[in-house]
C-alpha cells in the first residue's frame, strides 16, 4: 500500500468517524434541544461529504448516514438510507455539473434534502394514516427541525472543508 492510498484510507476513516461522532451528539438526550426540537447533524455531514468528494463517495457515505438515522428511527429501516443515498448522489452530480461548492449552496442543499425526507415521512407516516391534526407535525416539528439543522449546518461544512483541505495538503506533499 503506497502513501497516497494510506492518506485516502485515513481520510475516509476520518469521515466515517465524524459521522459516528455527530450521530452520537445528535441522539444524546437533551443535547442542543430547543422547545423539543433537535438539529440533525448527520444529514448535513453526508451532504457536505457529497459536495466535497463527488457522487460516488458521497452516495456511499449518504447510505451510511442513512443507516445511522434508521437506527432506532421511527420509520421502517432503509427509509433514510435510500433517501440519503439518492440525495447525496444527486448533490455530488449537481456540484459537478451545475453548482459551485460554497456554504450558501450547501445550506440550500441540506435544507432541500431535509425537506424531501421530512415531506416523505409526513406523507407516509402521518397523512396516509389519517391521524387527527397531522398538520401540527409539519408545522411544529418537521419545518422547525429543518430550519434548526440548516442554521447549524455551516459549522459542519467548515469542519469537513477543513478536514478535506488538510488531506489535500498531505496528498500534494
Amino acid at each position: 500500500m503506497n502513501s497516497k492510498t494510506k492518506i485516502f484510507l485515513a481520510k475516509y476513516t476520518v469521515y466515517a468517524a465524524v459521522l459516528i461522532v455527530l450521530y452520537v451528539l445528535q441522539t444524546t438526550p437533551r443535547f442542543l434541544t430547543i422547545l423539543d426540537v433537535k438539529p440533525n447533524f448527520v444529514i448535513p455531514a453526508a451532504v457536505g461529504i457529497a459536495m466535497l468528494e463527488g457522487e460516488f463517495i458521497g452516495g456511499l457515505y449518504g447510505a451510511f448516514a442513512g443507516v445511522l438515522c434508521d437506527l432506532g428511527g421511527r420509520m421502517l429501516f432503509g427509509f433514510n438510507s435510500i433517501i440519503l443515498l439518492v440525495s447525496c448522489v444527486c448533490v455530488g452530480l449537481l456540484v459537478i455539473y451545475l453548482l459551485r461548492p460554497g456554504v450558501i449552496n450547501f445550506v440550500l442543499l441540506v435544507a432541500g434534502t431535509m425537506l424531501i425526507r421530512g415531506l416523505l415521512e409526513y406523507l407516509l407516516s402521518y397523512v396516509m394514516w389519517d391521524y387527527e391534526n397531522v398538520w401540527m407535525v409539519l408545522a411544529y416539528m418537521i419545518l422547525p427541525a429543518i430550519l434548526y439543522t440548516a442554521a447549524v449546518s455551516p459549522l459542519i461544512y467548515y469542519l469537513l472543508r477543513w478536514l478535506n483541505g488538510k488531506f489535500s495538503e498531505y496528498l500534494q506533499v
Binding site: 459516528i20 441522539t27 443535547f31 423539543d36 434508521d70 421502517l76 429501516f77 438510507s81
Partner: protein, 282 residues
C-alpha cells in the same frame, strides 16, 4: 452525466441501493426485528451513546450548579463557597434519595406482582426527529428483552419495546399515535383504549378513547391497564385531566396525563415476562 450512468461507480451505487431495498423489505416482513446491518451499527454506537449520555448528564449538572452558585455570589460573595458545597451535597443527597425512592417503588411493584421478571435499563438515545419521545435503552436481546415487552417507570407505564438489537432496544411510548393500550377508568370501570394524539403528545399527554356517552369518567380519575397480550393488568397509566366529545359525538374521550414523566426519563424498567403474557386482550 450519461458517462456516470454507464460507469462501474453507478453500478456499485445501484447495488447498494438494491441491498438497502432488500433490508427495507426484510424489516417490513419481520416487523420490529432489527436487520443485521442495523444490529451491527447499533452494537458499535450504543456504548458510545451510553458514554455520551452520561457526559451530557454530568455537564448539564455542572452548569446548573454553576449558574446557581453565580446567583448566590451576587447576593453574598462570602458565603459562595459554603453554599456551593452545601448545594453539591444536597444534589448528591437528592440523587441518592431519588434512586432509593425509585428502587423502593420497583420493589413494591415486584412484591405486588411476584410473577414480573424485571430488567433495569438506562435511556441512551432520543431520536432528533421523533415527535412522540421514543427512546433507545442500553439493554437488548442478550439481556433477555424481546419484542413488545412492557416498559415502566416507578410512576407508571411508559410504553413497549418495538425493536430489539443485541445490546439496545427501542421503546415506543404511549404518546405515539401507533400505540394502543387496553385500559379502564379505575373509578367508573369504563373500558377504553389509550392511544397517542399528535396535538396532545406535544403537551406530553395521550387520550383514553371509546368511552360511552353515559360514562361517569371525570377529572383526576386514575387510568390503569386492563391487561392482555402486551401489557400486564393494573399498571398505572395516568390520570384524567379533561373529558371531551369524540369525533361524530358518538362517544367521549378522556385526556390523560401519564404518570411517568416520559419526556425526561433517564432510567426505566422492562417487564420481560409476567403471568398471562401473550393471552388475548381483555
Amino acid at each position: 452525466m450519461g458517462d456516470f450512468l454507464k460507469s462501474a461507480r453507478f453500478k456499485i451505487l445501484f447495488g447498494v441501493f438494491i441491498l438497502l431495498l432488500f433490508f427495507m423489505l426484510r424489516a417490513a416482513w419481520t416487523g420490529g426485528l432489527s436487520p443485521l446491518l442495523s444490529q451491527g451499527t447499533g452494537l458499535l454506537v450504543t456504548p458510545l451513546q451510553k458514554a455520551s449520555s452520561s457526559i451530557s448528564d454530568a455537564v448539564s449538572g455542572y452548569f446548573q450548579r454553576y449558574v446557581r452558585a453565580d446567583e448566590l455570589a451576587a447576593e453574598n460573595a462570602a458565603l459562595q463557597s459554603e453554599v456551593n458545597e452545601l448545594r453539591s451535597q444536597l444534589i448528591d443527597y437528592e440523587q441518592y434519595r431519588q434512586e432509593n425512592e425509585n428502587l423502593r417503588q420497583y420493589i413494591g411493584l415486584k412484591e405486588e406482582n411476584p410473577d414480573f421478571e424485571l430488567e433495569p435499563a438506562s435511556v441512551v438515545k432520543r431520536d432528533s426527529d421523533d415527535r412522540f419521545f421514543s427512546f433507545m435503552i442500553d439493554k437488548g436481546s442478550i439481556n433477555g428483552i424481546t419484542l413488545y415487552d412492557t416498559v415502566i417507570s416507578p410512576e407508571g407505564l411508559v410504553g413497549a419495546i418495538t425493536e430489539v438489537g443485541p445490546n439496545f432496544s427501542k421503546v415506543t411510548t404511549i404518546l405515539d399515535v401507533r400505540s394502543k393500550v387496553g385500559a379502564y377508568d379505575n373509578r367508573t370501570r369504563d373500558i377504553g383504549i389509550v392511544n397517542g394524539d399528535i396535538e396532545l403528545a406535544a403537551e406530553g399527554k395521550c387520550k383514553l378513547t371509546y368511552l360511552p356517552r353515559e360514562s361517569g369518567a371525570a377529572k383526576d380519575d386514575l387510568v390503569v391497564t386492563s391487561g392482555g397480550s402486551i401489557y400486564p393488568k393494573n399498571l398505572v397509566i395516568g390520570k384524567v385531566t379533561e373529558i371531551r366529545e369524540g369525533e361524530g359525538k358518538i362517544s367521549l374521550y378522556a385526556v390523560v396525563e401519564p404518570a411517568a414523566d416520559i419526556k425526561n426519563l433517564t432510567d426505566v424498567m422492562v417487564i420481560k415476562s409476567y403471568q398471562g403474557q401473550g393471552e388475548p386482550d381483555e
